[in-house]
């Protein structure tokens, strides 16, 4: 029994890892295709049919490029930087419920790597540790421009983590739990007691703040000051080349996938869809849950598209605008949201 669970979880974690990598890989193609579409171009279309093999070609190119090391004594830290960035982007997936449960051969398989009591805090812990990847990489590059970019990127991430945490507190107060699985389960169905069950309809302000902060946390436009080749020199990865550079960029796409998943799970009903209970009763648990997984991935893909849509629509902020927005707008708004949510909870109880 014990080893069966270990094997089951192992297979599940491997599958999640593979899917995350696959999604991150094809996000790069999707980004270029969407950019081309928004700018009335064709986009990559040479590798495979409609450019379907483009990510493989890009990966091969990155692997085949020359591995260049800057003159630094900190070779170990130089390699550690992208490694931390990548692994922290992947680690969050441990607490994400990808579906409710499946029944395979009499066993109930819970579609989540681990269901810990403090899952929300775990997500924030991993997020805050992710900053090290940028800081260590920027410092070990032995280049003052890299260091300055690393400072810029990490102060942005730290600032927006505060607003993000405050935005999520309102949600936690209302749901009364820190377990992501339970938050997902509470949004079951679509309509209950005269109102939508999905959190986005219950906590629109919290969702909005969380969304803006997610953009900042994943270093996406309009908050992509961490890296802009044109007006600020490269970024914290100026000195990186070959696959180490690829790891930084790839980690960003993996983080985008994971943060889309978190957005979908916390606010957009996770694996729930209208008629989930009906499907469980009439079509069985397995069919209903496979549909649920598909529903979750549709939501995730929508958010990935939304990230890209915004990137090719809105210009990037200036650094002081970014800090003003974070500290003077989002944090007071999030605190006001907590107070309002608290009042509503007290009054309706």
């Amino acid at each position: 029994m014990d080893s069966a669970i270990i094997i089951e979880k192992g297979i599940f974690i491997l599958a999640v890892f593979a899917i995350t990598m696959f999604m991150a890989m094809y996000s790069t193609l999707a980004e270029r295709k969407i950019a081309a579409w928004l700018q009335d171009r064709i986009g990559p279309n040479r590798a495979g049919k409609g450019g379907i093999l483009q990510p493989l070609a890009d990966g091969l190119k990155l692997f085949a490029k020359e591995e260049f090391m800057p003159s630094t004594q900190n070779t170990f830290l130089f390699v550690l930087g992208p490694a931390i960035s990548m692994s922290m982007a992947l680690m969050t997936s441990a607490v994400i419920p990808w579906g409710d449960k499946l029944e395979i051969g009499g066993r109930t398989v819970i579609l989540q790597a681990t269901d810990i009591d403090v899952a929300m805090l775990y997500i924030f812990a991993v997020l805050s540790v992710g900053v090290y990847g940028i800081m260590i990489g920027g410092w070990a590059s032995n280049n003052k421009f890299s260091l300055m970019s690393a400072m810029r990127a990490s102060s942005q991430m730290i600032s927006y983590e505060v607003a993000m945490g405050l935005a999520i507190i309102a949600l936690i107060m209302a749901t009364g739990t820190l377990s992501v699985r339970e938050i997902a389960a509470q949004q079951s169905g679509f309509w209950n007691d005269g109102w939508f069950t999905w959190n986005v309809f219950k906590h629109p302000l919290s969702f909005l703040i969380f969304l803006v902060c997610s953009f900042a946390e994943t270093n996406r436009t309009p908050f992509d000051l961490a890296e802009c080749e044109a007006e600020l020199i490269g970024g914290h990865h100026t000195e990186y080349s070959s696959m180490k550079m690829g790891f930084y960029l790839f980690g960003e796409y993996a983080a985008m996938f994971i943060s889309s998943a978190i957005l979908a799970i916390l606010y957009f009903g996770a694996y729930n869809y209208p008629g989930f209970q009906w499907a469980v009763e009439n079509w069985g648990v397995n069919v209903a849950n496979i549909l649920g997984i598909i529903a979750l991935f549709v939501k995730i893909c929508f958010f990935i598209f939304f990230y890209m849509w915004v990137r090719w629509t809105i210009p990037r902020f200036r650094y002081d605008q970014l800090m003003n927005l974070g500290w003077k707008m989002l944090i007071p708004l999030a605190i006001a949201n907590i107070v309002i949510t608290g009042l509503v909870i007290v009054l309706t109880q």
């Binding site: 830290l77 009591d117 403090v118 805090l121 924030f124 805050s128 690393a150 730290i158």
Partner: protein
């Protein structure tokens, strides 16, 4: 299994703690301190204190050490910048440390641990619900005092940084 993990974690904790002190490069010592904090969080996890472990990581590794790294990186400290302390200070530090060690040893050797039998109260002390209720009912006053203390420290920091600005303008 648990014992092996404990010894491995203890070795990492002690090793990185020593590295923190002995590293010549301030960044390296700060980073070993981060690893040390992580292994301490691992000890908490071994004791089944999930909440404490995660909060420890968020607060110490995620916030305090990052700010510390910021400061060190911005000041750009190197081996050459290390201040050479006079020999008298070194001797004084050694004597003070030995005295503290003596007091601790003497105190700890004389203690007689009272081992009582555990009883099962039926409450899940890992769960945040229990922890929150205890914190905000039984320990309400110390909890609020701690938050006031933090607030005062925050306002003080803002005040100090403001004063500097006015001076530099003059």
């Amino acid at each position: 299994m648990g014992e092996i993990i404990f010894y491995a974690l203890a070795a990492v904790t002690l090793g990185t703690a020593l590295l923190t002190i002995f590293s010549r490069n301030p960044i390296h010592s700060a980073l070993s301190l981060v690893v040390c904090f992580f292994s301490i969080a691992g000890h908490y996890l071994l004791l089944n204190a999930q909440f404490l472990a995660i909060v420890h990581i968020i607060v110490y590794s995620g916030a305090i050490m990052i700010l510390m790294l910021f400061t060190i990186m911005l000041m750009n400290l190197n081996k050459d910048d290390e201040s050479h302390k006079p020999i008298a200070a070194k001797i004084a530090a050694t004597i003070a440390f030995c005295l503290v060690g003596l007091v601790l040893l003497a105190g700890l050797l004389r203690t007689k641990p009272v081992v009582e039998s555990y009883y099962y109260s039926g409450e899940d002390f890992q769960s945040i619900k229990v922890l929150g209720k205890v914190l905000l009912n039984e320990y309400m006053v110390p909890f609020e005092f701690a938050s006031v203390l933090l607030l005062v420290a925050m306002i003080g920091a803002v005040l100090i940084s403001k004063k500097d600005k006015e001076k530099s303008l003059k």
